[in-house]
């Protein structure tokens, strides 16, 4: 069964919003989410496949409502909860 993240070909999302001179991140917390994920992936807490799977577990209505980095934050929180914050390999 296809989940909501499988968006290729879906209708109804309207035109693109193209920003000129777009900053790499729109909020400081977005950069932090990006950096935490990069750090934990490189430290071997979870794999990229696990991260993608965690993103794809987001309930469809929330997924559609959330911004891109809010989806990442959801995935990070659920992976860290699942793995346990104190179970820290390699440090």
């Amino acid at each position: 069964m296809s989940r909501i993240h499988d968006m290729g070909g879906l209708h109804g999302f309207g035109p693109l919003a193209i920003e000129s001179d777009e900053p790499p991140f729109h909020h400081e917390w977005e950069a932090r989410v990006f950096a935490i994920n990069r750090f934990l992936l490189r430290a071997g807490w979870y794999t990229l496949d696990e991260f993608r799977d965690a993103l794809e577990q987001m309930p469809p209505a929330e997924y559609l409502e959330a911004s891109y980095y809010e989806r990442w934050l959801f995935a990070l929180e659920s992976l860290i909860r699942r793995k346990g914050v104190l179970d820290v390999p390699g440090r």
Binding site: H5, D6, M7, G8, G9, L10, H11, G12, F13, G14, P15, L16, A17, I18, E19, E22, P24, F25, H26, H27, E28, W29, A31, R32, V33, F34, A35, I36, N37, R38, F39, L40, L41, R42, A43, T47, L48, D49, R52, L55, L64, A66, S67, Y68, Y69, E70, L73, L76, E77, I80, V85, L86, V88, R91
Partner: protein, 196 residues
Amino acid sequence: MSHVHETSGNAANRVKTLVAALEEAHVLTERELDASIEAFLSRAQPANGARVVARAWVDPEFRRRLLADGNAAVAELGIDLAHWAPVKLRVVANEPGRHNLIVCTLCSCYPLALLGPSPAWYKSNAYRSRAVRDPRGVLAEFGTQLGDDVEITVWDSTAEARYLVLPQRPAGTEGASEDALGALVTRNGLIGTALV
């Protein structure tokens, strides 16, 4: 707009809580995080992708190697693609009558090391859903018009396979230096939403 603002405020607080928990567990510090963002942003830039393209335009042997094995060819220029995990880079060349466009319909896979952080439109529901169904309509929103005789191939990225478009070298640049050629290459040209 208040809804958007509230959501973002809520996310900012959740991230604060997360960072505090990771600091408490001695996993990382806020300072390390900020340093890692800066280091990443200074390394992962569209200028890397532009440098690869300019080399391919001036050196037919490099172009051949780039199209045969993207990873090995960009490594020759000292570019490391494995920013999170090993990825396979496939470079696809625009030619007369043939245009390439990159999307990630499932999420946002993108050759970060060559292009820097992806723009918001690349990660948007609208781009992900429409690039594969209506590429000409999408290109038109970027002001990019292709003739009806131009075939468009849309490449759908995955976590393991990332794509980069090799644009056609613009006419009238025969005498240009590699640096000058690199300056002509735009990020959108490397994704395929613009011509160079």
